[in-house]
Symmetry: C2
Subunit: 212 residues, 2 copies
Amino acid sequence: MRMFEIEVGAFVQALPLTFDIVKINLDCMPGMTAYAGFFEICSPKKGEYVFISAASGAVGQLVGQFAKILDLAAQKGRGFASFTIAWYFPEGIDIYFENVGGKMLDAVLQNIRPHARIAVCGMISQYNREQPEGVSNLMNLVWKSVRMVGFLVFEYYHLYSKFLEFVLPCIKEGKIVYVEDVAEGLENAPTALVGLFTGRNIGKQVVLVSSD
Amino acid sequence: MRMFEIEVGAFVQALPLTFDIVKINLDCMPGMTAYAGFFEICSPKKGEYVFISAASGAVGQLVGQFAKILDLAAQKGRGFASFTIAWYFPEGIDIYFENVGGKMLDAVLQNIRPHARIAVCGMISQYNREQPEGVSNLMNLVWKSVRMVGFLVFEYYHLYSKFLEFVLPCIKEGKIVYVEDVAEGLENAPTALVGLFTGRNIGKQVVLVSSD
């Protein structure tokens, strides 16, 4: 079975031989991105509230599971408005894993808690716009003493063994699973690619070129 | 001489008796704000480029002098566009002390260097707007691995003795001076207050109620 990964910049590290293709996806770029953003940038603490935009995607699905393992109150979001977030998080948000940007970020900023951390992993809602949406509620960074940190996963690969130490037992115990959205046939690749920008995919989007 | 300070939330700490009114302004809220934002949040390093919006104000003037003491390339800004910043900082900006917000922040983000730090102290250009201006270039936080941290000075008062240790010798050696913009007469207070929002003041804006 050959798979073509749509994600740009994904690459595979040396892995234990028992890992199959699903584990590889968990283990390399998406896994390390989720780990670095959540554990290193967001420094999660007991009792905190976690909001993950694009939680159904390659990276976000793992952040949600990490939060669950730590027993934090986590919620995924797609197209949330401020009042919806307030309904899910009446106490506000301590940790925001940002993958959407624009209106979503603005809505989160209206519901942010003091000393919150925002890991900015991406802003998929903005990539195909000629002019990105403006984010208006940035003064909440000051009122609430919020830290907002952009990051690129390749700068965190020195944490790879620490990541494996955390993630391998979780996989063995079934506490972490990795979902992929497989589009069959190269002819379906364009549709699958476009679907990433509307959040159509559930899990990491891959294209099965051939099952030979 | 009695002075009325326009800044909301300013308060005076116990000070060495030799300090006069000017030193008190340097020493309490504006001084600590500049110190916490610049040294604690921005962690300045040799050879870095520092941009300070509202550098003529109560806090900004001190950040500029701190940068000069560390021998960093510092530039103040008022109403800068992206290309003007690029002219002053052909290499880009490592440290941005943010007090203006809106278009200024957007322009800085277009000229930000990898691993830059932004201390968000305030956004005075936005305070009187019904709808704050949107900031569009936030994806640069990701591309450049930028840390953007909002802060309130009262959370940093545990650093007060460390701050005095740094600042007192600098004052004695004349390396730091503190400029105030004195409006004479209570009848001029409203104009002085409005002037803060257009950057009319040079130094901290105070109102001299009476010189008795």
